[in-house]
């Protein structure tokens, strides 16, 4: 994978590749010697084979149900959520469910149509790494992640809504 942005805006590089869903009848084509993200349902289908491997993670598409991996999320080294179009907001709910409902504590990555102005929302919903769409200026990511110093409502990043912080 190309450059990856961390939640604090720093940029690093890693070698995870996203393996597309194979066409009907084809089998999963995992490149040798690389860490790979495969569709979540296929990981589950091959659980015996994939479980416990630190070079195999999963990705969810925006219409996928994270409930699929309830109870198993922490067997995974990396989960990615795809934003097919940046205006498709389902990925935010998927992220919160993975974190807050299913207790996923590993790295959660936003991929796909990831733009600068959506990073702040992704961060609050529990994503801690982001692969920005290639044409966007990655040097602006840190600024866009940090426009706000606080928020009104609870989300994955804080369970304290402002009304509780005010009361104290």
């Amino acid at each position: 994978m190309p450059d990856v942005i961390a939640a604090d805006g720093t940029i690093r590089n890693d070698n995870w590749v996203l393996v597309a869903r194979p066409a009907d009848g084809d089998s999963l084509d995992i490149p040798a010697g690389q860490s790979a993200l495969i569709p979540a349902d296929l990981w589950l289908a091959g659980h015996e084979h994939f479980a416990g491997r630190d070079d195999i993670g999963v990705w969810f598409d925006s219409h996928d149900e994270p409930e699929l991996l309830a109870g198993k999320v922490n067997e995974l080294p990396l989960i990615a959520v795809n934003f097919p179009r940046f205006v498709d907001g389902r990925g935010y709910s998927i992220a919160r469910l993975l974190r807050e409902r299913f207790g996923y504590s590993g790295e959660l990555r936003a991929v796909g149509d990831v733009l600068l102005d959506q990073l702040q929302f992704m961060k609050r919903c529990g994503f801690d790494s982001y692969v920005l769409r290639a044409d966007k200026d990655i040097t602006k990511a840190a600024r866009c992640l940090n426009f706000f110093s606080q928020a009104y409502q609870a989300a994955t990043d804080t369970d304290q809504p402002l009304f509780r912080r005010r009361a104290s």
């Binding site: 940046f86 205006v87 498709d88 907001g89 389902r90 935010y92 709910s93 919160r96 409902r101 733009l115 600068l116 102005d117 959506q118 702040q120 929302f121 992704m122 961060k123 609050r124 919903c125 200026d137 600024r143 866009c144 426009f147 706000f148 110093s149 606080q150 928020a151 009104y152 409502q153 609870a154 989300a155 369970d159 304290q160 809504p161 402002l162 009304f163 509780r164 912080r165 005010r166 009361a167």
Partner: protein, 550 residues
């Protein structure tokens, strides 16, 4: 009224900086038009037919006099010296420059205002009854809950890219519904249960637009402390399962219908079960704190000024009419609620000049504790006027054009900006309103006709709420020409009803005549006590149809 603390001020300032940055990137070509679109919409900025249009948020309709003065200054400095009150109690500027918008937002932030989420596929401004806090029959003041919802929904990270726009309304009286909650995505009716505890009846899936629907009840009683967790559950179900493949099927009403209200409610309850005890659950202290912002102003102990008013009424017939139509009861003896009508014939409904805005501020300071409320009927309310000052207020209002005593009559038209301003319009709406106002210029006749809601929209988006007008008018496009479809029997109040289409549409110049014929049928058929809507409900569509298409 709510007052910002240091948290609100900081968030508002950070928002201005963020939008400035976004605007600069858009102007520098770093954001494609479709990428900037949702960002600017979430800041109320449309690019319209003639110029950008900026929709400024007026949370649940409340405005202070300093805010009105600032708005007046903004219309002078950045626009053409006038503004427009919308049907969702917001304020629109029709001619700002795109480059100036960050500066306008900075000016607004100084007086605790913003344009957040006044458009776009996100949670919009929460609306409520314009007479909140001053009505004897309200179950509780809805405004603290509206403010709680405002804060919760502002930049909610999970719900910034919903399938479609999302509107919440709160109503507080069991007898009347001036907030039209049943035609909102979520309608919250304040209620008390058998134990006397405060909560909400929750309606979900109402709306106007292409598929008008009255919202079914999905929960009979939601305790007040659970308000936000429940809203979060509804929004999450909608965000995950609402349709995104077809813009016209993307509102929550379509999802509720597809799942059935029971099926939808089950999904919400299941989701809610997981989060109902999360820290998002409200606390009595937090609610108390919000309520503390909406305490009563410093009312004086007064008697009702009955004798004085009857004398003034007797001596002045015009005052008498105005008192009857534009002044309402107040829970405190000696006080009254006054509606300033922004419906003077010849002025587009809801439009005000900078001078008028400043004058409203003056009147508010002198007569009503410095506060006003915008209404979804596009009027302005002074909610706390002393009865013994009504006559003076009335005299002051006449030259300003606010004393037209036509509240709730046929010429108190609800009307969207339509083809004169709006890029989405199929047809103009303002000239139709004006032609009808000109035709019905005899106030006594209007009073005789009684309350009639005439609502006009320039297209299916229904900003003029045409479906719930007793008479609804919708602009349609027929082979490039502007036509108007008429519907009858709509009602936005407790018995919310969607109007029925009368028949084939009409040319613009036919419209006053069409309305006149509809009114004639009513006058002929009505019994002593019946309103237009009553008569329509009794006799049905046919007699009206026969006359109009005869």
């Amino acid at each position: 009224m709510y007052v910002y603390d240091e948290h609100d001020r900081q968030i508002a300032a950070e928002r201005v900086a963020q939008f400035r940055d976004q605007t600069e990137r858009a102007l520098a070509g770093e954001l494609a038009e479709e990428e900037f679109l949702p960002l600017r919409l979430q800041n109320g900025l449309y690019v319209q037919r003639l110029a950008p249009m900026l929709r400024i948020c007026v949370p649940y309709g409340m405005l202070r006099s300093d805010q009105l003065r600032r708005l007046a200054r903004i219309t002078r400095d950045y626009d053409k010296g006038y503004a427009h009150f919308t049907t969702r109690t917001n304020i629109q500027l029709n001619w700002p420059n795109l480059e100036d918008v960050p500066d306008i937002l900075a000016e607004l932030a100084e007086v605790e205002m913003h344009a957040n989420q006044t458009s776009g596929n996100c949670i919009r401004n929460t609306t409520t009854d314009q007479f909140s806090g001053v009505q004897a029959d309200e179950i509780a003041d809805p405004r603290p809950y509206c403010e709680i919802i405002r804060q919760w929904s502002t930049f909610h990270p999970e719900f910034a890219f919903l399938p479609r726009k999302f509107k919440v309304a709160v109503n507080a009286s069991e007898q009347t519904d001036r907030a039209a909650i049943q035609v909102h995505d979520i309608g919250l009716q304040l209620v008390r249960n058998d134990q006397g505890e405060l909560g909400f009846r929750v309606h979900v899936g109402g709306g106007l637009g292409r598929t008008p629907m009255v919202a079914p009840v999905i929960r009979e009683f939601l305790p007040e402390l659970d308000l936000l967790t429940y809203l979060e559950a509804v929004l999450r179900v909608y965000n995950r399962y609402g349709r995104r493949d077809n813009k016209f099927k993307a509102r929550i009403k379509i999802l509720v219908k597809a799942l059935t209200p029971e099926g939808f409610a089950e999904k919400v309850e299941a989701e809610w079960e997981h989060i109902r005890t999360s820290p998002t659950r409200l606390t009595p202290e937090a609610i108390g704190k919000f309520q503390g912002y909406f305490t009563e102003p410093a009312y004086q102990t007064l008697e009702n000024a009955t004798d004085e008013l009857s004398k003034q009424r007797f001596e002045n017939r015009e005052f008498d009419k105005w008192l009857t139509y534009n002044v309402g009861e107040h829970k405190k003896p000696g006080y009254a609620c006054v509606t300033l009508t922004l419906k003077k014939t010849g002025t587009p409904p809801g439009d005000v000049t900078d001078y008028q805005l400043e004058q409203i501020a003056e009147l508010a300071d002198q007569f009503s504790f410095g506060e006003v409320r915008a209404t979804h009927e596009q009027n302005v309310v002074l909610a706390d006027v002393r009865q013994d000052q009504l006559f003076e207020l009335w005299q002051r209002m006449i030259p300003l054009g606010f004393a037209t005593a036509n509240l709730n009559t046929l010429t108190d038209v609800i009307c969207c900006p339509g083809g004169d301003f709006c890029a989405l319009a199929n047809a103009k709406s303002i000239p139709v309103a004006e032609a009808i106002q000109r035709r019905f210029d005899d106030l006594d006749y209007l009073y005789d006709l009684g309350p009639i809601d005439l609502n006009i929209s320039g297209c299916m988006n229904a900003c003029g709420h045409h479906h719930v007008g007793n008479i609804g008018v919708l602009g349609v496009d027929k082979k490039g020409e502007e036509f108007y479809q008429v519907s009858l029997g709509g009602d936005s109040h407790h018995n919310a009803t969607i109007g029925k289409i009368l028949g084939p549409s009409f040319a613009r110049d036919q419209m006053p005549q069409v309305i006149a014929k509809l009114i004639d049928v009513y006058v002929e058929k009505r019994t002593e006590e019946e309103t237009f809507l009553d008569t329509y409900r009794r006799v049905g569509l046919e007699p009206f149809k026969e006359r109009v298409y005869a």
